[in-house]
């Protein structure tokens, strides 16, 4: 569950967080680049979900299944949530929303990894 997909998602999310923080600091609303970024992030997250499902199909089991699937569902919902809220708020605060969500997302990815690895899976 760790390795490239998770790390890549975290890095992408942090880059997007920095990019939207820059927009917030310049008093700019989120523009197309942020929405494209959120789209890429969603693809990365879905990739992570596919990796998890493949591992499940291969017989691996998460250490805390309930928490794991809770985090996974939350993770998949985060980028669309950020996109919807950002579109509703075409001011610098929309960019701030994207920043916050992109800072929360890596935490969820880390928690996802922890709930997978509890029993050393």
């Amino acid at each position: 569950m760790d390795g490239l997909p998770a790390t890549g998602t975290i890095v992408l999310s942090l880059v997007l967080a920095a990019w939207s923080l820059y927009a917030t600091a310049r008093n700019r609303p989120p523009d197309r680049s942020h929405l494209v970024g959120l789209g890429l992030l969603e693809l990365a997250v879905l990739g992570l979900a596919v990796v998890a499902l493949v591992a499940l199909a291969g017989g691996d089991r998460p250490g805390e299944p309930g928490a794991f699937f809770g985090y996974l569902v939350t993770l998949v919902c985060l980028p669309p949530l950020a996109a919807v809220l950002a579109r509703m708020e075409p001011t610098r605060w929309g960019s701030a929303i994207v920043t916050v969500v992109c800072l929360v997302l890596p935490v969820v990815v880390v928690r996802l990894q922890q709930t997978w690895q509890v029993t050393g899976g």
Binding site: G70, L85, W93, A96, V100, V101
Partner: protein, 147 residues
């Protein structure tokens, strides 16, 4: 427009700052994230291992409900929404301080962590900061909202 009759409260047509736009929308977004996090956590704890720490898990559930109601209150705005949000933020602040203090002084009472344990240290102390920001935001928008 015809003159409105009766009642001490009159509304004006000038644009008002609502609780749900601008910085308020960011606040609503963060509240929404916490509502989701607290609900998932409480739901999971209660379903899977309620017997281990019923007090802590019921408290998690209470916190989750308060976050949800606060989110709705801030998002809706208006007199009712503002009052609801104000009440929730106050309860949250009292809750996070009380539970934080209790969890430090008497850890045995909370064998498992809640959102509010250690003043919300498990969530980057955001649970401690959030109600304060909420109250500040409600106070700052009040001037415009209640004329």
């Amino acid at each position: 427009m015809a003159e409105r009759s009766g009642g001490p409260t009159t509304t004006t047509d000038r644009p008002t700052r609502t609780t749900s736009s601008g910085p308020g929308r960011l606040l609503v977004a963060v509240y929404l994230l916490f509502a989701i996090a607290a609900t998932c956590r409480a739901g999971l704890q209660i379903v899977t291992r309620f017997d281990e720490a019923p007090v802590a898990y019921l408290l998690s559930a209470l916190a989750a409900v308060i976050y949800i109601v606060a989110t709705v209150g801030l998002a809706r705005g208006g007199t009712g929404g503002r009052r609801t949000a104000w009440l929730c933020c106050t309860v949250e602040l009292v809750g996070v301080l009380a539970v934080g203090l209790t969890s430090v002084l008497d850890p045995a009472l909370f064998p498992d962590d809640t959102v509010w344990s250690g003043f919300g240290s498990g969530y980057g102390y955001v649970p401690l900061v959030l109600p304060v920001l909420g109250l500040i935001w409600l106070a700052r928008t009040r001037r415009d909202a209640q004329v």
